[in-house]
Symmetry: C2
Subunit: 810 residues, 2 copies
């Protein structure tokens, strides 16, 4: 990997400029050599670009930019047919692809969603006048219109109306607009179930890509899911008929007296929510009737429900793999496109550093010159000064690395005077020793037992006493000393680079804050004191399986969060619908006609001379505002006793309300099954991975080592000087100065990044990946001649084939 | 596969007899050439064997028998160290290895288990006097003693006391014996929790091998399971402390007033059984307290519980593969041992038919001569008359095939006269046509809707009317006609060979019986009428996924049944313990001091002039006899509202009773997780398999084709004539006659068997299997020289190495 060529060759000027111009020039050159269209472009960027048309540098700049766009599209899995096709589109593309725009998108979407806190059945504290919230809504919708128009500008009308998600969004926008205006005019809210569709604005956000992927995955898993669901429902119907025939002669059995009741109760039984109760009347009459229920539950709950999980898990597995494959190939194609834009006529075998640097300026503007060069060197595996296509394929793996000079000094205190060094070295050794670690574990364990015993002794009452308990102070002191020792022994940077230490640090900090709260008697912060037991989590570092599990947990966290968000979006839809139909329906002592009246009771009667409050509390599970709805929906998700909520609402409305609850159950079942399948898949994958790579167990990510000599640095400085990039030059000069200081001829840099799921998959599917590549390139080869004649006619839709054509011409 | 050598060579006498004698002779020849020990053997078999010592035939017979024993051991996964080591052991082995003995084992075990129906808290109808059931128990235990002594005789004392399961059984037997005698003497039952151990007698049965495997798998999955369980409990403790601090100031909250309550309620919350209720008092006070419960459930229920499944699933997967591997290698070793006993000095390269036939006579006594020869031919893949070791490795795959002459006639009616033939042919074509099939599906669907509508119209009351509804008769007639057409068109044998047709047949038969019951007014059989909707299951044939799912379901059925049995064994243990502690504890209106008193209420009061019965029914969930206990335990397994049962019992006994219920929950959680993992594994495996072998989707098992010429048959007859086996000769003669009749020179036979999981695994792990074999043979080679010096000293423990040694001598 390390070689010592005269590095100057890297920095040669690519010589002949404008070997290939940017697509703007190219496209219109195809149209007949006139640049009129480009000149018409109204955005300043486009105008500027046209003014400098003849300049080779400018053409290169355009190439860099387009290559960077291709690479971004590859990374974000954006399809290439949305690639900007002309200068106007490019301007819109650039406008719509930066974090400011994304943030605007996100905030309008959130604003629209949060409006439901203040609309009609509002949270009491947040209620707003109809005029206020309707105006806010209208404002947000206008912003969305603006966003959409930018998108249309970028995509062009043709692509725009073919893009399904965008079209749905447009329709929803239209409906919302009309409704908002109607509300403003009538000054009263009508039944607006369409508010449930507001979610689409959030889903369409650039930042919510993970949610979109989850939704896609859910929809892809649906067909097999529905098949098994039908099987489930079919058995349910058969058993409902059976149950009706068997148990309806028993008049004391309210569960099977009609076919509808029979069906509903068997549906609820599927969730086990009414289990022993539904059996009891018939069981009391004839003990053998339990066989019916046992058979039903065995088939439906223990067999078909698990089958459902199996089918979803299997589909999920399959989809994950296909997704990984298509993303991999998509990235590869993106790299190919970028590569074609960066090679020169003179040297078609690779990309020179100059062009690579130009690409990175657009792709990662924040990268410093040193990192750019290191990335280039890391990519370059051959002995030539050019990065070949084969090397360039690793672009995505390498560009994410964070580079740092490899320290010669092992510890932060190596430069200190001798005495200090020895002290710190001692601390370092102590802190790293097993004895110290196990002592700390013992302390934590003792602390845990202490807390448990202390809490057990309290038995209600005065546990937030004025005087701080001494045990708290003792343990906190020990933890404080440990923290101090570790920070000094390892250096704050190394200390905080470990997730576990970070955890220790924050828990100790919280404990300290809790102590403050206790000492200064700040009641609202007492809850911090209660977080002390979290310290005990450290004990789980002791066993390898726990470390594995917790590591995987942290790796999974982003994905889990996006799944949670997906679930919340479903919640939102159902909450809106629920609020529109069931707001204010349930109240204390409301459902006296139903079988669940007890749960809704609120009686305040006097027995003897004591007031006894008989509370059923279930009236709290209502749809009176969106927060209450969310809690109610969570209770429905947990499933236990959900039929009490369902029956309560049903008794106050019609029995069609059951449809709402049953649909919700099925939807959450889908999402939950997907979540379970996801967790299963991720863990099994991870464990298989560890089993396959027993040796690489302890590594914390991907590390690459590269050496740079002084001449190379000076070479880069020369290059930058020519392009007059002052900050970059200054940065590099600093490196040279440092080398001079330590008298080194070269410095070794370490590139690090954490391991992603994609890296793991790469390793797991190693063999298959090669096949995919071959298959892919075969397919491409076979497609190219076929597409060539067609590309001229459909040029506006297929920039790719155009690009390919122009490539073959050269 | 098919070759035409002069077949006579197969039937040559192996010439030199006694190339190697059976292990009996061998072993004692090792002892110094005297046969005294053998002569001492008291069993008649051994005496007979010694009398004929000098006869070569006899020695061959012994070799055949031992080879057959090896092959049986390989098939049943019996370890070779239990291989009988001398004539006495052999006699005991043969005595203890036949179905009569197995049946005796099973029935004594069942008798012991069933005794708990009649003992102390007995099922009222089955109550027996103490004297009666104690005597019965003593009798059964004596039978077990006899069985164990036979086993000791076969294994030898040394092996016997090293065999863990047998030793545990002996101890349990001893305890049970003493207790039974104590009961007989005292004439009263004491607290006999040890009755729960009776299960071991069932588990140890030969027929319960699958249960043993399941138990082993459960125990192997335990370590990772316990790890995650600890994580679960740890979080539970932390949250219990948190919950206690947060909610105990609220005096209207009974769930968190002490740390113990807090813990118990969070444990119950883990099962979601008390979900919205446990949250309600604090939620009513402060809506934000729901965050505590949402976080707890998200972490514990949705994350760690799924993690548990993932870990168990992963372990399960791994264990399944390792199990398959070890069984495969075990079988291979068994085949090697058998092979060594069957080759002759003159021809060490393979087994001749004569010896193979001798082996099969012991291995599968019911096999007819034709099948033996066909098995031999199917094994023999080379052109030589001998089966080499490589071919012999396929023994287990081939020996299970059922051979049938390939019919020249396609249909059963081919031999009928022309007119009849045409009629039947027409029916055949009609029955096989898609139109007919889809018509039937339509009829079934219409029938389904009809039943649904009919039931819906009934709405309680007179649904078992005297006059049979005409729709019933119409549909039954259609099904009857279909059945008739199919039977005549396909022939009864082909018709019933399909599982689906069998299903149709039995459902139609049941429907007919139901009609009879209706017509002749036999009330107890009315339930048959109710089975009609099952007919609808036929609709699921329409879609491939359902066929796949249902096929897999049937394939899984034996394994599922054994898992169910395993669960029942756990139930039994818990039922006994529950009966001993909680029998008669729960009764109507019993638990007035507890929070669940309502569920146990039974009030018969008068409102106005109507008697209203207020029934809680939960007093029915008791441990008053073993059947009730089973139902109660099933309710605990389903988990919903289990805390009502727990709290009821707890309020009548001590709060330590909770331990029983919590332990039961954890145990069923383990078993249920294993069941889920098993279903997941089986389905995912199956689906991967179908994905891998898209083409072989439609095949119904493994089929092999072999041709036998007339000369070959005559050759076999000659062979059998010499050994004077009259029945075999007659059988074979029949084949020759048949060939003569049709003027054929040869007949083609088809060998069929259904595909097993092992076959699927073989195909799935194809590549790895080769590696395993190589690794295995490497290991064996490296072990052989090592063991050789040791084998003389440990000869009584290691018959294998002895065998190997004797092999190397020759």
């Amino acid at each position: 990997m390390q070689w010592r060529e005269p590095p100057a060759i890297y920095f040669q000027d690519p010589g002949s400029p404008a070997e290939r111009s940017s697509y703007l020039v190219e496209l219109h050159a195809d149209d007949g050599g006139s640049y009129d269209v480009v000149n018409d472009a109204s955005s300043p960027a486009a105008r500027e670009c046209c003014a400098q048309q003849s300049s080779a540098r400018h053409n290169w700049e355009m190439n860099y930019q387009e290559a960077a766009i291709y690479l971004q599209e590859g990374e974000n899995n954006d399809k290439f047919f949305t690639h900007p096709k002309n200068a106007k589109a490019l301007a819109a593309y650039l406008f719509a692809h930066n974090h400011l725009f994304y943030l605007m998108e996100l905030s309008t979407a959130l604003l629209l969603l949060l409006l439901s806190l203040c609309e009609a059945p509002a949270v009491p504290m947040l209620r707003l006048g109809i005029f206020v919230h309707a105006t806010l809504e209208l404002f947000a919708l206008i912003v969305v219109v603006f966003e959409l128009s930018m998108k249309m500008r970028w995509l062009g009308f043709q692509t725009f109306i073919r893009h399904k998600r965008t079209m749905v969004k447009t329709c929803v926008l239209f409906v919302q607009f009309i409704e908002a205006i109607v509300v403003l005019v009538r000054q009263t809210s009508h039944v607006r179930i369409t508010r449930a569709l507001r979610c689409i604005f959030l889903v369409d956000c650039r930042y919510c890509g993970a949610v979109r992927r989850n939704l896609r995955q859910i929809f892809q898993s649906l067909p097999p899911f529905i098949d098994i669901l039908l099987l489930l429902l079919f058995f349910m119907v058969i058993f409902a008929i059976l149950g009706f025939y068997l148990f309806s002669p028993n008049h004391s059995d309210p569960y099977f007296n009609t076919l509808e009741n029979s069906l509903v109760n068997l549906f609820v039984l599927l969730t086990t929510s009414n289990f022993p109760d539904v059996m009891m009347p018939s069981y009391a009459r004839n003990p053998w009737s339990c066989v019916f229920f046992i058979v039903y539950l065995s088939i439906e709950l223990y067999f078909i429900m698990n089958l459902l999980l199996a089918v979803v898990f299997d589909t999920f597995n399959d989809i994950e793999k296909r997704k990984f494959k298509s993303l991999l190939l998509h990235k590869r194609t993106a790299i190919q496109h970028a590569y074609r834009l960066l090679v020169t006529k003179q040297r078609p075998s690779g990309i020179s550093f100059k062009h690579f640097e130009g690409l990175l300026r657009f792709y990662k503007p924040r990268m410093c010159a040193r990192e750019r060069y290191l990335t280039f060197k890391a990519l370059n595996q051959s002995n030539t000064p050019l990065v070949s296509l084969k090397d360039f394929y690793n672009f995505y793996e390498v560009v994410g690395l964070k580079w740092k000079a490899k320290r010669n000094r092992e510890h932060w205190f190596d430069d200190l005077p001798r005495t200090a060094f020895l002290i710190f070295k001692g601390i370092n050794i102590l802190v790293k020793s097993r004895v110290f670690q196990y002592t700390m574990y013992t302390v934590v364990a003792v602390n845990g037992i202490w807390i448990l015993v202390e809490t057990f002794m309290l038995q209600g009452g005065n546990f937030f006493s004025r005087n701080v308990p001494w045990s708290y102070i003792v343990f906190l002191t020990i933890y404080g000393v440990e923290l101090l020792l570790k920070t000094t022994g390892l250096g704050p940077v190394e200390y905080l680079s470990s997730g576990w230490n970070l955890f220790d640090f924050s828990v100790t900090l919280f404990a300290f804050l809790g102590l403050m709260a206790l000492a200064f008697n700040m009641e609202p912060f007492y809850f911090i004191v209660v977080l002390r037991p979290l310290q005990l989590l450290r004990l789980f570092k002791l066993k390898k399986r726990y470390r594995n599990v917790l590591d995987t947990m942290f790796e999974l966290f982003p994905r889990m969060a996006s799944l949670g968000l997906t679930l919340l979006i479903f919640y939102y839809c159902f909450a809106i619908v629920g609020m529109e139909f069931f707001a204010g329906v349930v109240y204390p002592n409301c459902c006296n006609t139903s079988t669940v009246a007890d749960s809704y009771r609120w009686v305040n009667h006097t027995v003897g001379n004591k007031t006894v409050v008989e509370e059923g509390y279930y009236y709290l599970n209502n749809f009176d505002n969106i927060l209450n709805s969310f809690v109610t929906l969570f209770e429905l998700t947990v499933v236990n006793d959900w039929y009490i909520i369902m029956e309560g609402v049903t008794s106050q409305t019609t029995h069609w309300s059951r449809l709402y609850f049953m649909t919700f159950y099925i939807v959450t079942m889908v999402v939950m099954t997907i979540i379970v399948a996801f967790i299963l898949d991720a863990f099994v994958f991870r464990m298989n991975y560890t089993r396959k790579n027993q040796d690489s167990e302890e590594d914390n990510g991907i590390v690459l080592e590269k050496e740079i000599s002084k001449e190379e640095v000076i070479g880069i400085i020369e290059l930058y000087k020519r392009t007059s990039a002052a900050t970059e030059t200054a940065q590099l000069q600093k490196i040279v100065l440092q080398m001079d200081k330590y008298g080194q001829m070269s410095t070794v840099f370490l590139g690090r990044r954490s391991r992603t799921k994609s890296d793991l998959s790469m390793k797991m599917y190693e063999e298959e990946i090669q096949e995919w590549y071959e298959e892919h390139s075969r397919k491409e080869e076979s497609q190219t001649p076929l597409q060539e004649p067609a590309s001229a006619s459909s040029s506006s839709l297929k920039p790719l084939s155009l690009r390919q054509r122009s490539q073959t011409v050269i």
